[in-house]
Symmetry: C2
Subunit: 325 residues, 2 copies
């Protein structure tokens, strides 16, 4: 959520000459996305009409070896009508570049704003967009392991160890217990595909109740398809602190997804378990960051307990309550 | 250089309905300027053609009571042809608003990029723009005390005290000595006016060698006019670390300023002293921030010694060397 690598404007201008993108007329570092450096660029445009682009420099959190997967995925999805930002190729067809010593890409800019308090209509549109993304992902040949799958949760929990109880007494035992439940109940044979895996409201651009873009695919991976709906559900249907559950949003996301893609009986049956997994995943990454970020650091630590509250809720809810009929 | 106050997009959209500015279609937090929160907004525009604005929320470093001075100044300068961003009034004529508990303003967006390694042509254009700003400032009735004047430097030096020597042994004595020199030699009767007081390359937007905007007037105040040229000189004519002096840039800024405004013999005679003051001013604020920012904080501390090197240079240079003939 900051600009980590400062790129002189002259270097950005020179970088753009590799592309049919016009000359640079504005460059602003923007506070967006995972730990990358992002600039919003404006150029005269190839046709002189003015264009905007996102310039992304990849910092340590994104593995350069994964970038071709993300690029090919967005090409695949974009070609099938999904509103995703395309990686732009230079005149020689290269999409991946180096700039200021970092892997760097020029990416399509999409308009739209990210809502903070979704209306049911907006939640429904997000459900539709996720279903359409899953349909469009069919036939995509690329694969990427989910580093934050059940095995990844065990590894992360082991790293936090006794420090969980510094966040809240009893949390370590609760995590052990929940991991045991998920080991025993995690569904083995639900359909898998490429999933977004991080479709928070931040990553959905909208105008009114219309989705104009899905962004930030840097967690996308191959995993249980309905788990993506569970992640989205956990991100969209609660107050930030996890204390309030908004049933109308859940029903709307469920209806939107069912309309655009459909959910099988097996997926519906496993849905509360998938939601418990989604809540634990964000509880664990937030707890890890919490434990490893000094309290006086200038980055905002996100409260892990906001996801413990979601976990508590999911542990006592059935599919009809979560997604409507 | 970060977004301190996060404003939900829905609130920005609602905020914009007070203005004839169209509907919000994009909002990106940008990493710019002094310690304010800034968003780059795009709207449909009053005429549907698309417009961009800067939304600024003022954090603790800017005093709300100073905002009318800045607003009136930019109106005055803009009306006289200076390329400065105007504060935009809502339908009821109000320029100062409240948003997310902060004083907030909607401000004109200007295109252009900030250069990092100015060419002599760009340095000349900056000198011209500063001279034109000083001409346009004539007749502006507003006044604002420079908190970072000679008295302010004494106060800041006293706060740093013995900690100077943690930056570099001997620095405390050097500061005392320089303050004594400036007390004895600071010019008393040079022309004063409103000055920008912080015209770094960051605050000058350019396309090629043409200035398209002067921004970030939050240090502007009433002080010796030629001191503004000295600040600009110290910011534009050295490598970042202060170790390399670029004489061609200095001559170009001098020629540009002389062409657009002119410099009297008294101003030329005092110029090395004014430059020593400018170098000390940035040395002191950087030293204060250095001493009061933990080494492991995530903000970048700017090196105070980069301005000690400039100070050393100015202490041994004459006006002809600094500004050309």
């Amino acid at each position: 959520m900051a600009v980590y690598t400062h790129v002189p404007a002259e270097e950005i201008d020179a970088f753009l000459t590799r592309y049919d993108a016009g000359r640079l007329v504005s460059a602003k570092g923007i506070a967006e996305g995972v730990e990358n450096s992002n600039y919003l660029l404006e150029t005269t445009g190839a046709d002189g009409s003015g264009h905007r682009y996102i310039l992304t420099l990849y910092e340590k959190r994104v593995d350069e070896a994964d970038l071709p997967f993300f690029m090919d995925l967005l090409d695949h999805l974009g070609a099938r009508g999904c509103l995703v930002p395309r990686f732009i190729a230079d005149r020689e067809g290269r999409r991946l570049q180096q700039l200021s010593g970092r892997p760097a890409c020029l990416i399509e800019f999409l308009t739209g704003i990210s809502v903070t308090e979704p209306t049911p209509g907006q939640a429904r549109a997000a459900g539709v967009a996720l279903g359409e993304l899953h349909k469009a992902a069919q036939g995509f040949a690329g694969e990427r392991r989910n580093a934050l799958d059940v095995a990844g949760w065990h590894a992360l929990a082991a790293k936090c160890g006794g420090d969980f109880d510094r966040i809240q007494p009893g949390l370590a035992a609760r995590v052990v217990e929940e991991l045991a439940f998920l080991d025993a109940h995690w569904p083995a044979d639900l359909p898998r595909s490429v999933i977004h895996a991080d479709l928070f409201p931040d990553n959905v651009l909208m105008l009114g109740e219309e989705v104009t873009g899905l962004i930030d695919f840097y967690f996308s991976c191959t995993d249980i398809r309905a788990y993506d709906l569970a992640v989205t559900h956990s991100a969209w249907c609660f107050s930030n602190d996890g204390a309030t559950w908004y049933g109308a949003r859940g029903a709307a996301i469920g209806a939107g997804y069912a309309q655009a893609h459909g959910l099988s009986e097996a997926e519906r049956a496993a849905f509360p378990t998938l939601c418990r997994g989604a809540a634990l995943r964000f509880l664990l990454t937030r707890a890890y960051d919490w434990i490893n970020t000094p309290a006086d650091a200038l980055v905002t630590r996100k409260d892990p307990l906001a996801y413990l509250r979601r976990l508590d809720f999911y542990a006592s809810a059935d599919t009809s309550a979560l997604l409507g009929q």
